[in-house]
Amino acid sequence: MDNENIATNDAASSVSVETGSQWQRLSVIAILYFTFSNIKNLAQGLIYVVPALAVTANVTDNIHSNGTYIGIAVLVLSTTMSGVVSFFMYTFRVHNAHIEIHHGVFSRRFTNLPFWRIQNVKIEHPFYYRPFGYALVVLDTAGSASEEANIVAVPNDYAQALKKQVLAFNAQNTAPQPEESEVDANVPHGSDEVVLNRRSITDLIIHGITNNRVWILLGAAAPFYDDVFSRISGWLASKGLQLNQLVGEQTIAWWQFGLYALVIVMMLMAAIALVSVGGALFTFYGYTLSRQDDRYIRRSGLLNKQEVSMRASRIQMITAKQDWLDKVLKRVNLYFEQNVSTQQHGQELMSPNKLIVPSVTEAEALALAQEVMPNSSYQRHDYLSISKRFILHWGIVGLAVPFALFVTVGIITAHLDIVVMSMSVCLLLLVVIGLRWWRWGIATDQKHIYVRRGRVGVDYLCFEPYKIQALVIKQSIFMKRRKLASIKFVLASGSVTVPFLPEDYVFSLADKVVHNVESTQRSWM
């Protein structure tokens, strides 16, 4: 972990932030921003329409007609014009410790933000601003991380000066933190930042390989599958492999067919991994995680430099996630989760509710977790395992009926291969259930609750019990007879369940946690 200090911009102090009572236009370069953001909004909307359009084009077979060309031209023209129109409709001023913005094309909006309402100021550098030295200032107001306003294009110096002034204004006027927050005596106060972690290109490549977020791309490419498949089979045929021969006539054994299918799937997965690596590099290039006073800030981005920040007290839970590929490479994805917002379901990478440190080593993850939640250690030996009845339960509920079904079908139709395949699939699923049972465990110490779970890779969750919102104890009638129970902790960032624990352990833990919440009365934010 490095311990550098990011120097503040001295030139910023000489730039005056007040713009007077006159309404200002943005710099002309804002047109670029508006155009890009309009295109992005259009694309996000179109991504659902494109497959449908492609299918209709296929069916009606007029993709090269004049109609489509005119349609495309109109689309392109309107998006460029929209950028110019948005630029003319946007004026702002910074006056009397207020930031006021008039914006909006069809529905005009007036945003008036007093400095004291601004929680955080983020400065972002999209790639088309960087050669010209401009910045995008994002003003963060509500505690639930919903961005309310942004000043679209101002010079870098002005942006830094504005940020400094707003944060200084708020630091003067807010009450000091209550004594519950543990302030590290070694951290200097003030606007210095301490860098906690950087990710190198190797780490990002590893992250790309282990995290595939390309399913949307696959979905968007759906209209082209026909084309792609016919090209691939043509290529294979030229190499001497006739796919029709394989599938149509029974000239090969089913295990050979399975082998061919496996090879094709692996090739596909390699291709997906490459695209995923590209995506990871794009989003996480130049990643730094730093701490400034009580905030954790993550900055990254290849073309668009973006930042996400989170106050330490808002962190509900630390999750160290590791799937099977991560385990092979001995890496962990660390997430600091704050409260859930109902919007932006798909944008996990840039979500303001989860601070992600991608693909850290296990030692680094533990160190970072101890930095954020002092005196916690999720690598421990005293995890209480869940009961083996978990395997029995899922074996019966999940596997028995389908297994019986397939076996009877196989026996009736006298296809031995169906029986064999269903038995091997069931065996595999039983192994996975067994692994899941093995990993699941819970541990507590004075200040934290730890949950370990996973299948091949191991996930660790760590949270402080006083932050829970509610608690649910669940028992089926069979579990009651065996004196087992499941416990679910509801946090603002989501719920954590541990099933099949001893009943008296569950009730005594629940009593302790509820007593903790109610008697200490600590805020969860």
Partner: protein, 185 residues
């Protein structure tokens, strides 16, 4: 105001039942909800089942136009399916609704419910964001209401006590709103 000023140690209590001093969820004194809740649910289930069966029977027996043959042959299965699902629904409400019980302690609300999977949900009043009383049209006729308690745990984890008599629901809502610990934090 610090925590110890708001809740001086001597006056803090939460129905201490055990000699050790910690209140326990295993020994809650639970109250039933109104029996009308079950009646309302069963009536609704019966009504819908009978309605759907009537529609299917009428379609089959009406003299205005002939249904295509595959549909005709499926008719007994469809009717049997509707009746089976309907009776399952009725039996579920018959058995499950009587098991819904709640308990109010000084610092939290508790709800026990469930037929095969019994759940006990505990909602500390400290974490309540807001309280609502929900009354559907049938509930209004029966003089019942449902108390919905929202925390920051998200919409999936809303604590809800159904089938309360209206006055009781309003009483509970007022209790939560007047509670000293209630805050947006």
């Amino acid at each position: 105001m610090t925590v110890s000023q708001a809740y001086p140690v001597e006056t803090f209590s939460n129905e201490q039942l055990e000699a050790q001093g910690l209140p326990t969820l295993a020994a809650l004194a639970l109250t039933d909800i109104s029996p009308r809740y079950r009646i309302v649910n069963i009536s609704l289930a019966l009504f819908i089942t009978v309605l759907l069966s009537a529609v299917v029977v009428v379609l089959r027996l009406q003299p205005f136009f002939m249904l295509p043959d595959p549909l005709l042959s499926k008719f007994p299965f469809v009717l049997a399916g509707i009746i089976a699902l309907g009776s399952g629904w009725v039996i579920y409400h018959l058995l499950a609704d009587v098991r819904i019980k709640y308990s109010v302690r000084e610092q939290d609300l508790n709800l026990q419910s469930g037929l095969v999977f019994q759940t006990l949900a505990c909602q500390p009043i400290l974490r309540v964001q807001h309280v609502e009383i929900k009354r559907g049209p049938l509930a209004r006729l029966a003089g019942l209401a449902s108390l919905q308690v929202f925390s920051a745990g998200g919409a999936l984890h809303t604590f809800e006590i159904p089938g309360l008599p209206v006055e009781r629901a309003q009483q509970l809502r007022q209790f939560v709103l007047d509670h000293k610990a209630l805050s947006a934090k």
